[in-house]
Amino acid sequence: MLGKTAGGLYWMFRGLERAENNARLIEAGFRIALTRSTNTETEWKSVIVTSAAQRGFTAKHSEFNSTNVIDYLLRDTDNPSSVLSVVKQARDNARLVRTALTTEVWSAVNETWMLITELLKNPVPDTDLPEVLSIIRQQSALVRGALHGTMLRNDIYDFCRLGTFIERMDSTARIIDVKYYTLLPSPSLVGSRMDNVQWETLLRSVSAHRSYRWAVEEDYTATNIANFLVLDRRMPRSLAFCAGQIVENLDYLAEEYNDRRPSHDMADRLAARLKGRDIHSIIEEGLHDVLGTIISDVGALGAQIEKDYRFNY
């Protein structure tokens, strides 16, 4: 396979994952804005910070309100991470790697691009927002379904999955990091209404408010939620799950190519950081510091994969 093709597949699926994550972040933020009448600015600001768009946003807007934030994350083509930008980028990448995709996957991506470009042509009024966000997530699911259902399990598939999980791990780590203070045990607030709303938002932004109840079967507590999002391997957006998937897909590549590269060792180290850990010890070590290291390690791993498989040179 061409190095460029591997890169196109990887970035295509990073883009699709990012579109979906943005839609979730907006949804969670929007919900808070609906349920609270005042002081939604902090909430919208944390949404922007989570999607790592603070610098670009503040260059254009002075106020963190719903109109500005939603438009910047959904439609602004100056924002390289807006849904419109990443869907276009994913579709451009899909065209670039067209020969590596089945017709089903290609059509799903192309259709997603056509549909979302049309949906986001004009600013989205609040009344339409839930539907637009749900379409974005549905389309992402459609592409993923086509990938699972029609693609050979070979190196092409592995690069798609690596893009998905690198992006997802980075995103989950950022979401937890921005909200980490709400997870810190603080005797005065535990069990208060304030905590509950914050925790539910956190879970919603990774679509886990319902699965938490099924999987954990306990009330919201800081440690339980942190454990669920960081270490629970049943949770498909948890850090441990993402790390496990990255290792697995890299192992398939090593097997197919009969060659281990530096990225394999980096991924193993990243996974080992989370394996067999206890959430209490992580919190003791400093959740924010641990997350900061993970975010930078994921970034470095992504760069090493690009290098090992000659995406660009």
Binding site: G3, K4, R310, Y313
Partner: protein
Amino acid sequence: MTSQSQHFSEMMGQDSVRTPYVDYNAWFSRQDTARLSRKAQEAEAFFRRTGITFNVYGQADAEERLIPFDLVPRILTSAEWTKLSRGIDQRVRAVNAFLHDIYNRQEILRAGVVPIELIQNNDAFLPQMIGFTPPGDVYTHIVGTDIVCTGEGEFFVLEDNARTPSGVSYMLENRETMLQMFPELFSKIKVQPVSDYPKNLRRSLAACAPSSCEGRPTVAVLTPGIHNSAYYEHSFLADQMGVELVEGHDLRIVDGRIAMRTTQGHKVIDVIYRRIDDDFLDPLTFNPDSMLGVPGIMDVYRAGNITIANAPGTGVADDKAIYSYMPDIVEFYTGERAILKNVQTFRCSEADSLKYVLDNLADLVVKEVHGSGGYGMLVGPAASKQELADFAAKLKARPSNYIAQPTLSLSTVPIFTDAGLAPRHVDLRPFALVSPEGVNITPGGLTRVALKEGSLVVNSSQGGGTKDTWVLED
């Protein structure tokens, strides 16, 4: 302009439905037009979803467009096709012989059949090709010959596209679409298949591999990238052939061979089907600003370590000034009269011709010698007084840049409209593959249709559409 009745209708003939269309017409008359309209919309949605689109040059927003597809097929009898394909075969062989000669002994110039100025002053003539014979002695691996019809059995060659002819993906997709939409038609009417084209293309290219190739030749398609107007076709052909689609930056020279960067290191390529122009092929030899090509590829080529299809410098055989000599060229190399006729062509570089063209501009079609895609041409009968005057000025300024031809009475084939069938002008571009194994021509080709009533311009960039082209089984 002239009334439609003056043009030859390939379906309706003089007074009754022509033979190749009898079965189709019988089927069509039983169809519910509302259903057909629905089918036409379905086809359009399918093309969009599949991404069978092209980008239009010179448009700021670079919007992707569909080439409109018309659901009425253009139908040729097996006998008509036999004559056409024999004529194309002859012409394609002559073009290859001409190119070999032009870059070697230049006997045709010495014999005075083609004037030397046409070669000397031709930008498409590449001195780098002099004295070099490409692998398998093939110059034009893929040729798209543009043909028009003006009456019963009256076919003319309009252009020999010997550089990088495009459109073959539409030929294939149009047939697929017809098979999807109207399977019952194909069980009633026996049409010669076109679906072998990608397989034949790969085989034909592999047969031209350089002698340095060991084992099964590695073929790749070289594209300028996703923003090129024909990118869809490039990826389609690579996909259908099962070969890599590469860009210049995927390639480099490794041990004197061209190699592509893969996830497992560099892999040698034997044959490159390039879809970029000569000028962009090698910044060390041609346009130094080109980012699309491969620095040094011409050295590798001249060392006999890569096959480039089509060969650099083939453009010298298909410009419109050379075109006017094609009947002589065919006769010179094959010793036979040309089977397919040329359209009468006035070379504006000649004083008498220029005078005639200026005097009769309103009746002529004037084209740039090196132009393509319908850009920069004048259709006299459709032009305003101002346009005629402007063009006359351009002609006087650079006469050798232009040729002129009479306005042909192009045949029509009906298209499907909401108001029923309506005649529109068409042309035909069959695709020929050339290798040391011979010339292979896919039955049919791409029929382009001018969708605007009365219009003679079929180019997709100028509002043309396409049709499926049927050659009937005997």
